[in-house]
């Protein structure tokens, strides 16, 4: 009893005391005019460093992506390291990686919107933009992987000159349909909530910017009817795009799982891929938020430590979920005792490329579990940047383990081989990373990256209510 009363009387040191709710964006409102000005300044301010990055990345895209790809088209697919027994190399690895990254936007924007997670408000657009550009980068890979890219239209379902209708039973057609559906719907989902902010930009710009925003804002005035139909459409999208998101990565996983390839033919591949995609996507959102916060003016008002904290908790949960699915897949394969599958597991852990497998485990499990439980680390943006970059390195290693390392060690020992990516492949992969960054960099100066109306709506709904001697955060349902 004495101990208890002593602990009650002892005041907590400042660091341990409860944080001031006004540190949260929702409880630190500023006039709408000021927030508009901040977002517009962030969008229109460019430095020499910005242009140096744009030019540098454009050159990398030109040389590494289009140059290397063009050379491969002219010379032949022999420039790539894919050959018997590994016909799916880093092109497919990177394809799966980008499709995974693209899940971030939908997850952050749609799922958190459906569950009314208020911390999502300032960065929904930044993550939706990631989805669109990641899909654009990823969608290049089926074309690159085709080899004969000039007949790419054979992928499109229409009866060709030989009167062969595409086989709708083929997972390749599913892929085409799923990625097209997701790309179109996520682009529209990016655009719809953008319309009121484009109207805001229209009212504050002149010249070519005004002309562009005026066209894209569709004559938005903000009438009750316009808001009503926008909200209805966003709600339909938020609910409908979630199953589409799940279907896309499930179908990507089925590209592997429907084949009777040892190590791939697993019923758990669908959810395993989805969890991995969400883990890598949310990690990429954190990385992007750090860059935006560090490089764009006024972004530190909108993107705060609380956001890194909240996303860090999500990452920890998804890292655990990923570990669960990984272990599920591993244990049952190992316990099943099927010789080829067990040999593949041994090959992953002890073969010449075993470091990739350990890198995957360290980056996806060890690092998040050792760091993200700690609130101080979660609230340190640069630490979160490093952790999330490492998570994505781990997720890339996971796809590399699943695809070329598994393919190189199948049922026939005479057909075993180790795949090594060639300079052309590495160059193309670097090129698509540069393309993603370039598109993002350009978009950051063309569209308002913060949905101002959503932030203001959230700030209006949040108030501090006095209960006894404390000021308690409370949220009002305004819809």
């Amino acid at each position: 009893m004495a101990v208890e009363s002593k602990s009650l009387e002892t005041p907590l040191p400042l660091a341990q005391a409860e944080e001031d709710p006004r540190e949260h964006l929702m409880f630190d409102p500023r006039p709408r005019e000021e927030m508009n000005r901040m977002v517009m300044e962030a969008m229109t301010t460019t430095s020499r460093r910005y242009w140096a990055w744009v030019i540098g990345l454009a050159l990398v895209v030109l040389v590494c992506l289009f140059g290397a790809w063009g050379n491969m088209i002219l010379t032949g697919m022999g420039l790539a390291g894919i050959r018997r027994p590994v016909f799916w190399g880093v092109f497919i690895v990177t394809f799966v990686f980008w499709i995974g990254i693209s899940h971030a936007g939908t997850f952050v924007s749609a799922i958190l919107r459906v569950f009314k997670a208020e911390f999502r408000r300032p960065f929904t657009r930044a993550s939706e933009l990631m989805t669109t550009f990641a899909l654009a980068a990823g969608a290049l890979y089926p074309l690159i992987h085709l080899g004969r890219v000039w007949v790419f239209y054979w992928l499109i379902p229409y009866p060709n000159a030989r009167w062969l209708w595409p086989n709708f039973r083929s997972p390749l057609v599913w892929d085409f349909l799923a990625i097209t559906t997701y790309l179109l719907s996520s682009t529209i989902y990016l655009y719809l909530p953008l319309v009121p902010d484009l109207a805001m930009a229209r009212d504050r710009t002149t010249g070519w910017r005004h002309a562009v925003y005026r066209l894209l804002a569709l004559g938005w005035r903000g009438t009750e009817a316009e808001w009503h139909r926008l909200r209805r459409a966003i709600n339909i999208f938020a609910f409908a795009i979630i199953p589409v998101m799940f279907s896309v990565h499930t179908i990507v996983s089925w590209d592997f799982a429907v084949g009777v390839v040892a190590g791939w033919h697993s019923t758990i591949f669908g959810p395993y891929f989805i969890i991995g995609a969400i883990l890598s996507g949310v990690a990429a959102v954190v990385s992007i938020l750090f860059v935006l916060r560090s490089t764009m003016v006024h972004m530190d008002y909108f993107i705060r430590k609380e956001h890194f904290d909240a996303l860090g908790k999500l990452l920890l949960v998804f890292s655990m979920a990923w570990a669960y699915f990984f272990f599920n897949d591993y244990l049952l394969t190992w316990y099943g005792g099927e010789e080829t599958a067990r040999r593949i597991l041994t090959f992953h852990a002890t073969g010449p490329a075993a470091w990739v497998w350990y890198l995957m485990l360290i980056c996806n499990i060890v690092i998040p579990w050792l760091t993200l439980w700690n609130r101080t680390i979660r609230r340190t943006p640069w630490a979160m940047f490093i952790i999330t970059l490492l998570i994505n390195v781990g997720m890339y290693a996971e796809r590399y383990t699943i695809i070329p390392l598994t393919l190189g060690h199948q049922r026939m020992p005479f057909d075993w081989g180790v795949y090594t990516p060639r300079p052309t492949e590495i160059s193309i992969v670097i090129g698509t990373f540069a393309l993603f960054l370039l598109l993002y960099l350009l978009a950051s100066r063309l569209i308002p990256l913060v949905p101002v109306w959503e932030v203001q709506e959230g700030q209006m709904a949040h108030t501090l209510r006095r209960v006894g001697k404390a000021e308690v955060p409370s949220v009002t349902e305004l819809e």
Binding site: W165, F168, L177, L184, M200, L218, G219, E224, S247, E479
Partner: protein, 178 residues
């Protein structure tokens, strides 16, 4: 009776209670709901401002798109094998499990695209009621657009100004979209 003139009363968003009161006051002065339109920088539900419920057909347009997508998918999955037969060993000619994937994707595609088309069509189509705009709206003001007979102008203005409104006379319709 003189012609109706369109006016705009601007309220700061912090004075939303006054804006709601102003709408009620306009009604008592004989301005019908049909002749009032509220424009704002963030969405307010009808009940906050005491306005009649707004209807939209977007949900129905989306549903119609989903049905079209479903029918196209059924045709592609079950119709095209009949038109252009491809026999794959040990695979049924019209398999249901694989068709579910195609049907799901195209149904969702139909739903989402038609929802967007619905928004686009409803947004750019002409709307009825008073039109007008002021850039202050996206800077944190609530605008109440209303049309009232010219002879009632003074009474209406006085009532709204008493509630803190900034009045813009004879609002011209701005061309906001090409």
């Amino acid at each position: 009776m003189g012609a109706n003139v369109v006016h705009l009363a601007l309220f700061k968003e912090t004075e939303i209670d006054h804006a709601a009161e102003a709408i009620a006051r306009l009604r008592t002065l004989g301005v019908s709901d049909r002749d009032i339109s509220v424009i704002s920088g963030i969405p307010y539900s009808e009940r906050i401002l005491g306005r009649p419920m707004t209807w939209t057909t977007i949900g129905r347009i989306g549903l119609a798109g989903a049905v079209v997508g479903f029918l196209v998918a059924v045709f592609l999955s079950f119709g095209t094998p009949l038109l252009y037969p491809i026999r794959v060993a040990a695979m049924p000619f019209q398999p249901i499990p694989t068709s579910i994937v195609v049907i799901f994707e195209l149904t969702m595609l139909g739903l989402l695209i038609s929802t967007f088309i619905g928004v686009f069509v409803e947004t750019i189509s002409p709307s009825f009621g008073p039109r007008g705009y002021h850039p202050k709206v996206s800077d944190g003001h609530i605008g109440i657009l209303f049309s009232s007979p010219a002879h009632a102008e003074d009474a209406v203005h006085a009532a709204l100004q008493a509630l803190g409104a900034e009045i813009v006379h004879n609002v011209e319709e701005e061309r906001l979209w090409p």
